[in-house]
Symmetry: C2
Subunit: 217 residues, 2 copies
């Protein structure tokens, strides 16, 4: 029922859910069981009315005068985000970034199951990262036949990302988490999230530049 509702939730609200999830998880760890939208808004630096609006999109878990029951809210947001589905994840590209991502503590805690790493560089093939042996790229087809995967993390150079993405799409991948410094073009049914690190750093540079110019006046 709630999942049904979530279909028409604007993407801008969806993008805020992981942050709610993170804050609520922290509160749970601290042993807090209930929170008002006002207190949550102070912690998160957004308005209480935005919090109420956002959470109302999913049927509203709050009770007038009592606030939100954190455990329920945390669970429901996790369900909406699909975290209990245990998505099978592979990493393509086991260079510095791919290996760093393999060791990223947050992912498995959030229910993503890292199944395999692939690379075409002889220097890294066979090495063990996070308990998994890096496999050559030509094992990809066999792996998908036997195990399958839902999400592929693309940590390959820009020059090969198109070819790799096409190959994964042909193998039935459902989602691509793209770290290469280029946008990729895939069929509509494949979900894509881009992490363009350099774009983010340039935005930071802009903020600095603006601050410097502002303070000169």
């Amino acid at each position: 029922m709630k999942s049904e509702n979530s279909k028409n939730v604007p993407m801008v609200v969806i993008r805020r859910l992981p942050r709610y999830y993170r804050y609520l998880g922290e509160l749970l760890k601290q042993g807090v069981t209930r929170i008002s939208s006002k207190s949550l808004s102070e912690k998160m630096g957004v308005t209480a009315s935005q919090i109420r609006q956002d959470l109302n999109c999913f049927g509203g878990f709050g009770q007038q005068g009592y606030g939100y029951k954190i455990e329920n809210l945390y669970y429901e947001i996790g369900e909406i985000l699909g975290l209990s589905r245990g998505y099978k994840t592979v990493i393509v590209g086991a260079g510095n970034l791919g290996r760093a991502l393999a060791n990223h503590a947050g992912f498995e805690k959030r229910g993503f199951r890292l199944m395999a790493l692939f690379d075409n560089d002889e220097a890294v093939i066979g090495k063990k990262i996070h308990g998994l042996t890096i496999q050559p790229m030509d094992h990809l087809e066999e792996f998908f036949e036997k195990e399958g995967a839902d999400i592929a993390i693309l940590a390959v150079p820009k020059s090969s990302v198109k070819e790799v993405a096409d190959r994964l799409v042909a193998l039935g991948i459902k989602g691509l988490w793209n770290f290469s410094y280029t946008d990729i073009d895939v069929p509509e049914h494949v979900a894509v999230e881009n992490v363009h690190l350099t774009d983010s750093l340039m935005t930071l540079a802009y903020k600095l530049t603006k601050e410097e110019m502002g303070s000169k006046e």
Copy 2:
């Protein structure tokens, strides 16, 4: 003059500039010198009118019927973003992620100067990454006294990010690029960009879940 204008440009437009910069850079590499807002819009998957609106925020570099002169536009966007300023950058936290970021090819190409890496782990101190020797955290004060830095990349665990950020702010850091899985609280004059990787992965999971539920009906 143009930089003057850019002060009142909405952040949502600013966030699109790195992407323009990336596409224009690609076109330049291919030897293209001029492009119409229509062609650029087809490449980038946004409307031509949005492109015209966005670029008009900075005084408008296009000429009716002739399109944009790519080199000028590329240069001006780079100036607005402050890329020619050669911001001095340090990395705090030289674990997997910090080391991957040190080797990230895109940053130096965009004018960021990586000056030093710091860590408090004896196992990595003294190792060389990207031509730089990883220094112990207690060298931080001396380094800032001698060299100074504009931007610090925070690749430390969540548990120590607050302490590290406070220390950097006291040393006069101007911008923090935060990779730890938590928001940080710094004075207004310090610019912050967060890269919450797990948030991005959760958004991808949502898209997959939505797609799966949609296709069942």
